[in-house]
């Protein structure tokens, strides 16, 4: 029997072994989850300056439009999503759209949430596979 898991810390590995009644000397093949092409940055900011930290993204979007590097922003709450997207749209103004018309499919930004309508989800997924954003 083989058990396969991704990104499990020691505790999770122990739980899995116990749940499956595996012996302690079970052969373990371990591959580090280390993604060598990811570069990490952490920046602690003041609460009221957090949105200003997105200025670089606004600049890139203004300059490159749909050719800007694809970027995802993960938020923890709906309110954070609201303030981030609102800030970006406000800063970008007309630059938030790929074309003159402000149709959703021309917008460079969108929200993807489990509650997002399926039609919007499909649009966003298609856009991410092609050359959209967020």
């Amino acid at each position: 029997m083989a058990a396969l898991t991704g990104t499990a810390d020691d505790n999770t590995q122990k739980n899995i072994r116990e749940a499956l009644n595996m012996k302690h000397d079970t052969l373990t093949v371990y591959v580090s989850p280390n993604c060598k092409n990811l570069r990490f940055s952490v920046k602690k900011v003041k609460k009221n300056e957090q949105l200003d930290e997105l200025q670089w993204l606004v600049d890139i979007l203004k300059e490159k439009g749909k050719d800007a590097p694809k970027t995802m922003i993960f938020c923890n709450t709906m309110n954070e999503i609201a303030s981030v997207i609102n800030h970006l749209l406000f800063k970008l103004g007309v630059h938030a759209y790929d074309q003159k018309t402000k149709a959703p499919e021309n917008c460079l930004l969108s929200i993807y949430h489990s509650n997002t309508w399926q039609a919007s989800k499909d649009r966003i997924l298609a856009s991410l596979k092609g050359n959209g954003l967020k």
């Binding site: 990811l38 940055s41 952490v42 609460k47 590097p69 970027t71 919007s120």
Partner: protein
């Protein structure tokens, strides 16, 4: 999502994840094609409150961020070579050119350009009459909510109190975005913030792309606009009445 997008170049983690595994799930969306990509955690103190200890240790790390991020999953983790591809901490020690490192600072690392005033007119002219209109419009919304929500106490279920109406009326010259409403007033739901914004828009017609924002929230506007007022046509100045 279960869908794989190979060429995501940047992941911004707004306020850190709840657990270190979540953080890796999010980070792992970047660079599926194997090309250099970035994981940027942007947070302020309150946001990491609910996060588990490992996440706090990661964001507060005084050393290599890669080591801090992976140490609970890989006890043999070491900084990446070349150092400038590892993390912001290691970049400072990189001397891949012999004595220094020629890799320029990435855009998000440069000092945040101090934002020069809020963009395009962040106050509007508000007359005493406007304020009265705004108050009665908000009271109408308030009444409507009371009827719909069967609230016993005035603001019990929706948090739309008379105090809130007072505050919004008083400061309406500076409200342009959902963010403005959420950060400056005791409004706890995006829905209520949107209602307030809509009322303001109805009266002043000067909020750019409100409809688009609402469309993104999948909210249908409660009214339609007959005319769009062009921003450039309006001159903004500080309100000069005695509020």
């Amino acid at each position: 999502m279960g869908v794989n997008f190979p060429d995501i170049r940047n992941i911004i983690i707004w306020g850190a994840a709840r657990s270190i595994l979540d953080l890796h799930q999010e980070a792992g969306r970047a660079g599926r094609d194997g090309l250099q990509s970035h994981v940027i955690v942007l947070y302020h103190g309150q946001q990491i409150g609910p996060s588990e200890q490992e996440v706090k240790e990661f964001v507060r790390s005084q050393g290599c961020l890669r080591v801090a991020a992976y140490k609970s999953l890989d006890s043999t983790i070491v900084p990446l070579d070349p150092l400038h591809d590892c993390c912001t901490y290691c970049t400072a020690f990189c001397n891949c050119d012999g004595t220094s490192c020629g890799v320029c600072a990435l855009p998000f690392e440069s000092e945040t350009a101090k934002v020069t005033e809020k963009p395009e007119g962040h106050t509007r002219n508000v007359t005493v009459k406007d304020r009265q209109d705004l108050r009665s419009a908000l009271e109408e919304v308030f009444e409507e909510m009371k009827l719909q929500s069967l609230a016993i106490d005035e603001s019990a279920s929706h948090g739309f109190s008379t105090q809130l109406i007072d505050d919004v009326v008083k400061n309406c010259d500076g409200i342009f975005t959902i963010e403005d409403v959420l950060t400056n007033f005791p409004v706890f739901s995006v829905g209520n913030a949107i209602r307030i914004l809509e009322v303001i828009q109805e009266l002043f017609l000067d909020i750019p792309s409100l409809e688009d924002t609402l469309a993104l929230f999948n909210v249908e506007s409660h009214f339609s606009y007959d005319t769009w007022v062009n921003l450039e046509d309006i001159t903004f100045s500080d309100s000069d009445d005695d509020y």
